[in-house]
């Protein structure tokens, strides 16, 4: 039965993206008609530094099969150093998730506003990876 689920399983992925770069890249991917799987729900943040790790924890604990974050490349943050601080928080969060085998379900990228194609490709690869992992062990649990 597990196999059956994996075969036609469409993962639910929650994405957080920075307004100034990846959110625009997603827009660009759309307007230039790049195809990518529709299983990510994107929530716009104003900066990497706005990503409270609790957002990621809450999404994972409520049964998201994957969570991703994408912001401006280091050195290109609209607010100069937001993503330098954010990168430390992401690293700490990932270290914690690793202790419970959950880090593979949390992705983090740097994708600039002009990288529409990179955004589409990243979404494709991510969807494949999460599909391979199968449904989150957290979904069925009574938590």
């Amino acid at each position: 039965m597990g196999e059956e689920i994996k075969g036609d399983f469409e993962p639910k992925i929650v994405g957080f993206t920075c307004n100034w770069c990846t959110y625009a890249a997603a827009d660009l991917a759309g307007t230039s008609r790049k195809k990518y799987p529709p299983n990510s729900r994107i929530i716009r943040l104003m900066c990497t530094a706005r990503l409270d790790p609790m957002f990621v924890l809450k999404a994972l604990l409520n049964g998201a099969d994957g969570v991703f974050f994408s912001g401006c490349h280091p050195g290109e943050c609209h607010y100069i150093k937001g993503n330098f601080y954010g990168r430390r928080r992401i690293a700490a969060l990932r270290t914690i998730l690793q202790q419970f085998g959950l880090d593979d379900r949390f992705k983090s990228y740097w994708i600039s506003a002009s990288e529409g194609e990179k955004f589409a490709n990243t979404m494709k690869a991510q969807s494949e990876e999460i599909k391979k992992l199968g449904p989150t062990p957290l979904r069925g649990k009574i938590l």
Binding site: M54, Q99, K107
Partner: protein, 354 residues
């Protein structure tokens, strides 16, 4: 560093002198109540009795830093406590929950502590102080130190303004680590001389033993293990309240979003089919472990505080150590070193993104 060797009477005189000479306005330090040991806040030096028999007592009640957290008074508070407690105070200074100039941090050597219940029950065996040989001997009798102490790498006094190191024959060496500490000792009119309390070899040995012990603790490894670990948690949040470095005035888990009731819970149950009650065990602990990830001093106060006997040392100190390692940060080691989340390097941690 400058210091002096003192016998137990001199030590009593020195601590009393801190109050009498106005070096501090009050002292937070241990006192004995029967066999038990707990903290007191002293204004009158006459209340200090045989401190040498109590300041090294291997009994953990609360983390003393938690007792003075958030005090915003002009008076100067002296605090005599173990290394993990002073390290927590130093983190609180960095977190702006305490003013560096209004505390005189006095750290005593520690060899490991027992829970206060075990200490009081076995006082006849344990006595006023222990060393590592004694700890091993007692361990053979089934009297064991707290797990957080067994994995603590920083037992020797090495931080704060003044350290009180155990010496031979019941004597101690007091030494100033900072200008404030040296001034305090000078005010006591002790004859100070150069002291070397680096004790590098001893520190290395302690750290190696602690690391070896840490390696023997079970690893969580999966969501299932975590779920089981926290199954009995009643979300009383006592672990938060007793944690010295959990300091938010308004905790998220006291607000409606963090503490859903009634209709909000029904909505969640509708979304997920069923939810566990009391709600939020995992969300609470996963959030808290992130919040203290760089500042947890591994004192084990959370475990002592848990009414359900959840061995929280295997969660908080063990997990936060891994986060601290990626930033090469030891909480409470250096008051001038920035908190990891308030600093960055332009080129770092890219291997943590994927």
């Amino acid at each position: 560093m400058k210091g002096a060797e003192l016998n137990s009477d001199d030590l009593e005189g020195a601590l009393k002198g801190l109050l009498d000479k106005g070096v501090v306005d009050c002292l937070v330090m241990p006192h004995r109540a029967g066999k038990a040991v707990s903290y007191m806040l002293v204004k009158d030096a006459d209340k200090i009795e045989s401190p040498a028999s109590v300041i090294f007592a291997p009994s953990f009640t609360v983390n003393a830093a938690n007792l003075i957290k958030g005090w915003t008074i002009k008076e100067k508070v002296g605090i005599v406590a173990k290394p993990c407690e002073i390290r927590a105070a130093i983190e609180l200074i960095k977190l702006k929950q305490m003013d560096k100039e209004s505390v005189l941090l006095i750290t005593v050597d520690c060899a490991g502590t027992y829970t206060n219940q075990v200490y009081t029950e076995h006082y006849a065996d344990i006595g006023d102080e222990v060393d590592s040989a004694k700890i091993k001997e007692l361990d053979g009798k089934g009297i064991t130190i707290r797990e957080s102490c067994a994995i603590c790498e920083n037992k020797l006094a090495a931080v704060g303004d003044i350290i009180i190191a155990k010496g031979a024959g019941g004597n101690v060496t007091v030494a100033g680590l900072t200008a404030m500490g040296e001034e305090a000792l000078s005010a006591l009119e002790l004859s100070l001389e150069d002291k070397d309390l680096e004790r590098a070899a001893e520190k290395e040995k302690i750290a190696a033993e602690a690391k070896a012990k840490l390696d023997t603790l079970p690893q969580m490894g999966s969501v299932e293990a975590l779920e089981e670990f926290l199954q009995d948690c009643i979300v009383c949040k006592n672990c938060r309240d007793m944690c010295p470095v959990c300091y938010c005035k308004e905790c998220f888990f006291e607000l409606p979003l963090g503490k859903p009731t009634g209709g909000d819970l029904l909505n969640l149950a509708e979304l997920r089919g069923a939810i566990g009650l009391p709600p939020g065990q995992l969300f609470y602990h996963m959030t808290r472990v992130y919040h203290v990830s760089t500042t947890c001093v591994g004192c084990g106060a959370c475990e002592d505080a848990c009414p359900k006997d959840i061995p929280l040392t295997r969660f908080y100190p063990v997990i936060t150590k891994k986060v601290q390692d990626i930033f090469e940060y030891v909480p409470g080691k250096d008051v001038e070193e920035p908190l990891p989340f308030t600093a960055y390097e332009e080129d770092e941690l890219e291997d943590k993104l994927r």
